[in-house]
Amino acid sequence: MTTIRRFCCNDLLRYASVNLDHLTETFNMSFYMTYLARWPDYFHVAEGPGNQIMGYIMGKVEGQGESWHGHVTAVTVAPEYRRQQLAKKLMNLLEDISDNIDKAYFVDLFVRASNAPAIKMYDKLGYVIYRRVLRYYSGEEDGLDMRKALSRDVEKKSIIPLKRPVTPDELEYD
């Protein structure tokens, strides 16, 4: 029971039930607005009956050549609406847009190495650990760069795991 539509500024005033979750970061305004101004098709919200915000996904598309890819910056679901595969639905939407509209090669995301439930979920959605990024989170915790190849990457080259971990300054994109 989900109406998925583009995220808009007013949703920022309605998403408290989602963002009070401790693993969901509340970014500063320029961060959200930059995403909205540049990649509005990558920022979607799911609404349930009674106009309740169920969850949202924000992301972007960037890169050059075969690195042209969709990126998931955040995906989160309110506690009340968990265990209904909503995150999957939102992820699929972003993958579809990256694949069909922007013709990207892959979709990637970063996740805390300690966030086992999320890693498990991404794994189920077909994401593989491409590489480990040392001390990615505030210089403390490692991050995992997980990827899923899209139809344009016929040989699935983009997801062949790297053998060694990288440091944040080796990353091509933030």
């Binding site: 500024c9 305004m29 101004a37 509005p40 009956p49 009340e80």
Partner: protein, 1013 residues
Amino acid sequence: MATKFGLAGGIPERKVRPIWDAIDSRQFKNALKHVTTLLAKHPNSPYALALKALVIERMGKPDEAFSVALNAKELLYANDSLLMDDLTLSTLQIVFQRLDHLDLATGCYEHACSKFPGNLELMMGLFNCYVREYSFVKQQQTAIKMYKLVGEERFLLWAVCSIQLQVLCGSGEDKLLFLAEGLLKKHVASHSLQEPEALTIYISILERQAKFGDALEILSGKLGSLLMIEVDKLRMQGRLLARAGDYTAAADIFNKILELCPDDWEGFLQYLGCLLEDDSIWCDEAVNDPVHPPKFVNCKVSHLTEEQFDRQISIASTCVQKLLADTVNNLIRCPYLATIEIERRKHLYGKRNDDDVMDGIVQYFCRFGHLGCFTSDVEMFVQVLTADQRTELLEKLMKVQDTLSAPPTKALGLSISFFKIKQLLLGDISTPCARDLEASCVQMFEMYCTNLPLSKDLDPQEGTYGEELLSMICSILVQLFWRTKDVGYLVEAIMVLEFGLAIRRYVSQYKILLLHLYSHCGALSVAHEWYKSLDVKNILMESILHHMLPQMLVSPLWTELNNLLKDYLKFMDDHFRESADLTFLAYRHRNYSKVIEFVQFKDRLQHSSQYLVARVETSILQLKQNANNIEEEEGVLQGMKCGVHFLELSKEVGSKSLTFNEDLQSRPWWTPSSEQNYLLGPFEGISYYPKEILTKDREAILKRVVEKKSLLPRMIYLSIQSASVSVKEHAEVNGSVTPDITSELKLLLECYAEFLGFSLTEAIEVVMGFHNEESSSVVSDSNLIDWLNFTVFLNAWSLSSNEFVNPEGNGCRPRIWNILDSLLEKYTLEKIRSIGPQLCSPWSGIELLIQLVTEPLAWHGLVIQSCLRSCFPSGKKKKKSGSAYHQSSSNMAHAITDSVVHLSHVLEDVMKWITEWMRKPEDENMENIFFLLNKDGNNDGPGKVFRMLEKFISSVNDAEFGDHISPPLKSWSPADVARKMISGKLRVLMEFGDICDSKWKLLHSLKQQIAQL
């Protein structure tokens, strides 16, 4: 740019690079060094000067930076041979923007554009300047110029957006849209459109003019293919058709949407709306506040004939049946809920199908009852049932629940939903007796404990199964408190939630409930700790701060309050500063609909009621904090332009429209908005499911509060002035020193009296009647502080006014002064006598006491300080000679001595009262708290859940609960919670004690000063 127009002010790039690098890495001293070197070589380069201004500003010297920037600007204007380059202009622009002189930056670009009329980059810079200034008309003119110059689609859209902004956010009339439409039409005819967002804007312009047919034609033509997401296009088409009244075609479109997205609930409602020719859903869009959309689907009772209605409903049913048949994913809820919605519509039409509505809900329960959202999903359908039907439904659900077999996690989910829907159906809590409520708490707690092992292997960051049970128990315990006034229930609720947080420390729902419970008990510092642990930052402050701010405003925790206000205002002001640049980013990336959205959102925040309150309260806090030192207070007042700014605000606020952006849904049932707290009143059995809050009512109340509070800074300022001239005036022969101050204060007193519901004359009569208790009935807890403030200012006015015939009281001391002192004494003593040092005594009385000392008493203290200061002209000033002056000073000094002595005693009493609290041994306090829960093992009253909780903890074994749950359970101690409650409350009282002490010391020093006179 630099290459096209020569170098940046004639300076090679390699020379300026180190400066920018140093600025970027915040090494401003280093940057300044480089700039100085550069300026030695290029003393008249506007670019070098602009860089210098930029560096100096970043070093925190705004005045100097401003003068350097002006210098750069003059050079830029003066020397015609110099080339205007964007680099210089944009650098200057940054400086002027940071110095809040957008107009000067705009001026520079205007000048440059007039010199180089064909330069597109400069024109874009100028457009950006207008975006920053929200000058929509000038934006439009500049964009049109650019469009004429190069004919690009994007500039046309910049112009169109600027027109739309004039209509939506400015004072532009709707007919301007016709102009925008014309521009677009012409462009489309010659060039078509390239960007999907351009099409979206085109459609929205037509839609706003109600040209639905034209919009549909465009959408179904070639241009329609620009919209890549099929569903988005269909939604647009469906809406346009419906708004055009072509419901049949619209229904077909929404049917298509449902085929593509069978779970799209809104899509279904729109589909049904079209079938029944009911446009409420689209009308609501225009009327409703987008931040607080209605919880329930609005619909009209259908005007269709019964035959038509039946036919349409049968079409809807067929569609839903097909969706159900096609549904392979068992998590798709929409078609199932749709069947209930169809029954609801039939019910509203007058069909007697109550059983069908109930059956629909029962079926939905069987399928989705285990989900956390079950109750909120079906909430709207329950509304159509009568009380008897609700009971019947509950019985049906109970029966069916017994027959359902499900794995343990699902079974738990079903049970929780059952409890929740039971609360929803029996909404009015007056029905069950206290004992039943207690029993259901016990049952829920048992369920929580029994099922806790299910979460054994979950990651500690994941929620546990059955988490909601503890919040539900808390809700019922608070109801029991409201009903019985037995604070034991509140303590029990706190224990239950703290216990839950020991198992999982991230449950925000528990934290919010706890912070309200602790606030209610006065353990504000603990409440604040829980608030902090929610990590409320950035935009969340706008929607969540209301949980903490109101109680902090009347607390003595000034440091914490100051931080809350400062962080919030910084966030808002930063947003206002950067919002326009982000709007320009949307222009550049051709996301035109976001341009409109950003400007509207900024407007919304600028009109935020909370922002308004925060601004006023910040100044009042400053005044409270500095009230013990008149010189510092005057400094603060100077910073507020002697209160003039707030006075203007007070006048304006009535005509302003305010926005309310709080997320009220997250509030506990007993305080649905910050202005309401059921627990403070008698038990009324109000259904505790939050009602829709009427924004209009809140707006009217809040405006009056702000109007009144905004008067304070100016009234304090004028009171100080009035008191200081009073002594001098006594010395004047004809005594008419400052008619302006006196008459202005009188005017404000008139306004203030109006807030109390009286004319000035009447209010004065009330005050004069206080001395013989004639007027006591007028004063209540809700207006006490206002009456006292009024009396303080009235007294100050009487000191300089010849108009006010003030019967002499005690010697030279006006009688009103006597009245004020005794009022302050009376109400303070009344409060402290009525509140015994019990830890769970109601906090609202103490809040009033704190306000009394930190507001009227503090303002009165300033009046006294001002009087005294006038008796002691500073050494630098030439002393007035003549015995009349000394006589007057001395009279005044003696007159205020009594007051100082009087107020000192009042404060001593308060401090003594606080000491009583502090003196109690911790053991005794703890004992009292646990006594509230155990009551000697008596079976009645609070403590049942608590006793189970204690038993449960003592029986925990590692194997059953695993490594994540077992250790925190074992180490959790109710005694620690009790200790925290006590220390939290004492900490607040201690802070209050410190405030009283500082005021007492001030009075003491004043006494010494008088003695020297």
